[in-house]
């Protein structure tokens, strides 16, 4: 299991154990992290699972691909560390990953 931490907009911390191969979005939904809507269910088609990757983790998580970058155009207050959590796959190297939930989704 890989440990992930979500920090909700109000500062509440959610530490969860995630299975490798699942997505950061799926684990947020399973653990009822507030502020992750995932309207399209993970099809990279809506930009409502937008998160900010903690600065210490941006290099390891990597950059969004072109399609995700296109979808990020629809997200609220996009920053250089913005990602759609449905496009981040959990793996060993992400053990300890911290992501922050924006004030709102779109």
């Amino acid at each position: 299991m890989t440990k992930l931490t979500y920090i909700a907009h109000d500062g509440t911390r959610f530490d969860v154990d995630a299975e490798n191969g699942s997505t950061v979005m799926e684990n947020a939904i399973r653990n009822a992290v507030p502020g992750i809507e995932a309207e399209c269910g993970g099809a990279c088609a809506c930009a409502t699972c937008h998160v900010y990757v903690d600065e210490a983790w941006t290099a390891e998580v990597g950059e969004p691909e072109a399609m995700e970058e296109d979808m990020l155009d629809f997200a609220y207050n996009v920053q250089p560390n913005s990602r759609l959590s449905c496009q981040i796959k959990v793996r060993d190297a992400l053990d300890g990953l911290i992501v922050r939930v924006p004030e709102r989704q779109g």
Binding site: E39, C40, A43, E69, D73, F74, Y76, V78, G106
Partner: protein, 355 residues
């Protein structure tokens, strides 16, 4: 997202369209309802805000595979829509696209009169709401106070280009809608500023090249950044603040803004129809899938009942049962004979497969 703002607004129908069943929403469940209702001899007319059938399957994830359609180990969402269109073809459903239902009234004879947002009038004995997550509507960009300007100086679509003549125009977005309108309105606007959060665009490369060429010629301005604030009074815009660009905050004087931030789903005017609602869903019974108003049914993602699952396959089941109930509304007293398509010659005739 496609640019569907340039559509056939001209063809306004004046005659009332009459049908047995008006289906609101042409997604997979609305389409399959045509089949089940058709087997029971009911004619259907479908209305959808999109410009083609398929709903979310067509708009959100056409290329994505679906794995839980019985009998199809895998099928793309668009593939499913295509198959459903083929399946309902014998029943000759009619479609009105690019329209949203607005008002509904119950007539004295128990039928319903429904009006679209462009003024068309339809009358049906039964209304089936198969509106999924709601109507696709332009997404409001996250700019504080933008509501005050909507419909006065901020618009989410261009219905008449003349309304933008002579204005200082800010267009926001990086898709085809944003680029097409930048190019089309530039000749008549006083000035055009395109704002997008990055120098790459989703729009067709040809449009992007044209835009950059016009920027070279100083015929328009392109700014990288996000609109963070609006200034104006009484709904009239006077400037927009763009942040996040290379030059820090930039103030752009403007009198009209067109944000293109894609589509989101909203229940829309159906919420005003006097139906009981439960967290923006429409509660129904699980025998008829009827709403709190007799003669109005709700199927698919938009309805709610204990145990509800938002699955396409559940919606298919719902329309089969709903059709039995709808038949009783349309042909009261008529005996409904339960038949299988495999063995019934009368059903096969309707399907055009009987030899």
């Amino acid at each position: 997202m496609q640019c569907r703002t340039i559509s056939q607004w001209g063809q306004r129908m004046t005659e009332t369209i009459k049908t047995d069943v008006l289906i609101v929403g042409a997604g997979p469940i609305g389409l399959f309802a045509v089949f089940e209702l058709g087997l029971l001899d009911m004619k259907c007319h479908l209305i959808d805000i999109l410009d083609r059938p398929g709903g979310q399957c067509a708009e959100l994830y056409p290329e994505k595979p679906i794995y839980d359609i019985p009998g199809w180990p895998t099928i793309s969402a668009q593939g499913l829509v295509d198959k459903l269109m083929e399946q309902i073809h014998p029943f000759k459903p009619e479609f009105t696209f690019n329209r949203m239902v607005s008002s509904l009234e119950k007539l004295e004879d128990g039928s319903f009169r429904v009006t679209t947002d462009e003024g068309e009038v339809l009358e049906a004995k039964v209304v089936v709401i198969a509106a999924g997550g709601g109507s696709f509507q332009p997404k409001r960009p996250p700019i504080p106070g933008i509501e005050d300007y909507e419909g006065k100086s901020v618009f989410y679509s261009v219905r008449r280009m003349e309304e933008f003549r002579g204005h200082d125009l800010v267009i926001v977005g990086g898709g085809d809608s944003a680029l097409d309108w930048t190019l089309n309105l530039q000749p008549i606007a006083k000035s055009v500023t395109l704002v997008h959060r990055r120098p790459e665009f989703r729009a067709a490369p040809d449009s992007v090249n044209k835009m950059y060429a016009m920027q070279e010629m100083k015929e328009l301005q392109f700014l990288v950044g996000q609109v963070s604030g609006l200034t104006g009074a009484d709904g009239q815009l006077s400037s927009a603040t763009i942040k996040g660009g290379p030059d820090g905050d930039v103030e752009v004087p403007c009198t009209r803004m067109l944000p293109f931030f894609g589509l989101t789903m909203k229940l829309g005017p159906i919420a005003e129809w006097g139906l009981n609602l439960h967290e923006n869903l429409i509660p129904v019974d699980t025998e008829k899938f009827q709403t709190s108003v007799p003669g109005i049914f709700a199927v698919g993602d938009i309805n709610w009942y204990p145990g509800k699952l938002k699955l396409i396959l559940s919606g298919f089941h719902e329309v089969a049962l709903m059709s039995q109930a709808a038949k009783r509304v349309i042909s009261p007293g008529e005996r409904i004979v339960f038949q299988y398509t495999t063995s019934s010659t009368s059903l096969q005739k309707k399907l055009g497969v009987h030899d």
